[in-house]
């Protein structure tokens, strides 16, 4: 309950901050629409040359684009701004004050900055998913939609956990400023089904920087490409990665000793 209340006040603060840059917000939304146009055009170009991409139809790729945009929104609206603030706080020692707060530090560090206008992106992403599923002609049953949603959430948790581990590494290596670049670099691979990639790339985006776990895998559940065992496995991976991440975070935090004092 307290967590939700805090999240509410974080949102309020961030809305106030973004109101100072209204024109920027408008420009950003326009650019965002432009990129959506490009993404749809590029799918159109692909499908004017073929009827399926690795067995996936246009509708399925539009839905995948929606899921990709969900993950990408997490990246740009949450991961980037908070990482920037976190890196700064390690460098100048203001992390001290964050630790003193009587709330879970990990929560505080990862949710205090939110790029508010990106909420619009979430609406867009969900629209893309709904339209895509309708277009795809896949038989979406209640249970397949449920597994799809569960695996989307668990995939997002996997990315969130990887992020925690990456920024926690800063406790050991103070000069590790590029901590999330690697995540961003491979992000674009989420636009297309990982099954079309050559094996080595598929292994990287599934096991090392698991973008595909958050994008391709949920869609595969919807296409009923996964058996029950695999669904349970990916769900367990989500839970497990969160547990590992919070352990790493805790032991990292123990190493923190301030910047100047």
């Amino acid at each position: 309950m307290q967590t939700l209340k805090l999240l509410g006040s974080f949102l309020k603060i961030n809305i106030q901050m973004s109101l100072a840059y209204r024109a920027d917000t408008v420009v950003n939304i326009l650019l965002n629409i432009m990129w959506l146009g490009w993404e749809l055009l590029s799918l159109n170009i692909i499908f004017s040359n073929t009827t399926s991409l690795g067995g996936w139809t246009l509708g399925e790729l539009i839905a995948l684009l929606g899921v990709f945009r969900l993950v990408n929104t997490m990246m740009v609206a949450l991961i980037w701004p908070n990482t920037e603030k976190f890196n700064q706080s390690i460098r100048d020692g203001s992390m001290d004050y964050t630790i003193l707060q009587p709330i879970n530090t990990m929560f505080l560090v990862t949710f205090s900055r939110i790029t508010v206008w990106r909420v619009w992106d979430l609406v867009l992403a969900i629209t893309l998913i709904v339209v895509g599923i309708n277009l795809s002609g896949d038989i979406a049953t209640a249970s397949s939609i449920l597994t799809f949603m569960l695996l989307t959430i668990s995939g997002a948790i996997v990315i969130y956990s990887l992020w925690i581990v990456l920024i926690a590494l800063t406790f050991w290596f103070t000069k590790f400023d590029n901590n999330v670049t690697i995540l961003q670099a491979l992000m674009d691979s989420g636009r297309y089904p990982a099954t079309v990639y050559p094996a080595w790339l598929r292994i990287i985006v599934t096991f090392i920087i698991p973008i595909a776990v958050a994008t391709t895998i949920p869609l595969q559940a919807l296409r009923s490409d996964l058996n029950a065992g695999q669904i349970v496995m990916f769900f367990v991976i989500g839970v497990l990665s969160f547990w590992v991440a919070s352990r790493v975070w805790k032991s990292g935090l123990k190493r923190y000793s301030g910047a100047s004092s």
Binding site: V27, W38, I45, N178, S189, P198, W200
Partner: protein, 265 residues
């Protein structure tokens, strides 16, 4: 003059060398898209035999060449120069008797390029063994024709980006403008897919725009896919755009410097 460039080179090379870890990250970031496009299109070509005459090997050679061409013709001027106008540090460079953009920033970009190409070389060789492209139809003449075209493409792109960067004299939103410019490049340069697979309208427009000079035209020269007429046409277009972009940049720069009041410095 040569001495000035020599000194500038030493300074800028040393500066870029300082940031080699960041540079490697940049390289990684930049590599992913072409490799994904390569994977997507070869997967389609493999399942259908060919895409409008493009075989899987055609796509592999296209994107493998793109990795080199794009690295030669692209620039980072917006990131290395834009902030100087915004925070006023440009004033120090303006009082020197050399053009800040056409000497120092240019050499800085070339130094950056030198380092990224050094970093790209081993990666490219690894990719070569992973994708095994068949470059047997590439001729020496094609490569020799492509080198001046790449230099020309670099200067056209550099001057256009420099002109956009110089807009910072008027507005703080050059990064948004640059994002729009970047989208135009994606659409008209052949970065996403060989231009002949784009919708007809885009192909027709792209012919007259400078963006294909940065990527599509040099790649096609290397791969020897152009007729003599197309080669001549490309060089003529390149020359025209070189002049146009030079005049546009010069005009924007002159107007801008007059407005410049060195905020905060």
């Amino acid at each position: 003059m040569i001495l000035i460039f020599q000194r500038l080179w030493q300074v800028n090379w040393a500066e870029q060398w300082q940031y080699r870890a960041n540079l490697l990250m940049y390289l990684l970031y930049w590599l992913v898209s072409p490799i994904i496009y390569l994977a997507v299109w070869t997967s389609i070509a493999n399942s259908k035999g060919n895409v409008n005459g493009f075989t899987a090997n055609d796509f592999i050679t296209y994107y493998m060449t793109l990795l080199i061409v794009d690295q030669v013709t692209s620039n980072i001027i917006i990131h290395s120069f834009g902030y100087k106008i915004q925070d006023g540090t440009l004033s120090g460079e303006l009082i020197r008797p050399i053009h800040p953009m056409l000497t120092n920033a240019l050499v800085n970009n070339v130094a950056f390029k030198g380092l990224t190409i050094m970093g790209l070389t081993p990666i490219w060789i690894i990719l070569f063994f992973l994708f095994r492209p068949d470059f047997s139809h590439v001729t020496l003449i094609g490569i020799l024709l492509a080198i001046p075209a790449m230099v020309m493409g670099f200067f056209v792109g550099f001057l256009l980006s420099a002109a956009i960067t110089a807009l910072a004299f008027w507005t703080t939103r050059i990064y948004s403008i640059h994002e729009f410019y970047f989208a135009l490049i994606l659409l008209f340069s052949g970065q996403f897919v060989p231009l002949t697979l784009m919708p007809k309208v885009i192909q027709d427009i792209a012919q007259y725009l400078p963006f294909q000079l940065l990527i599509y035209y040099p790649i096609q020269l290397v791969l020897g896919k152009l007729s003599t007429q197309q080669i001549v046409q490309g060089y003529v277009m390149g020359f025209i755009w070189l002049l146009v972009s030079f005049f546009v940049f010069n005009w924007v720069w002159r107007k801008g410097v007059k407005r410049f009041s060195a905020v905060g410095a």
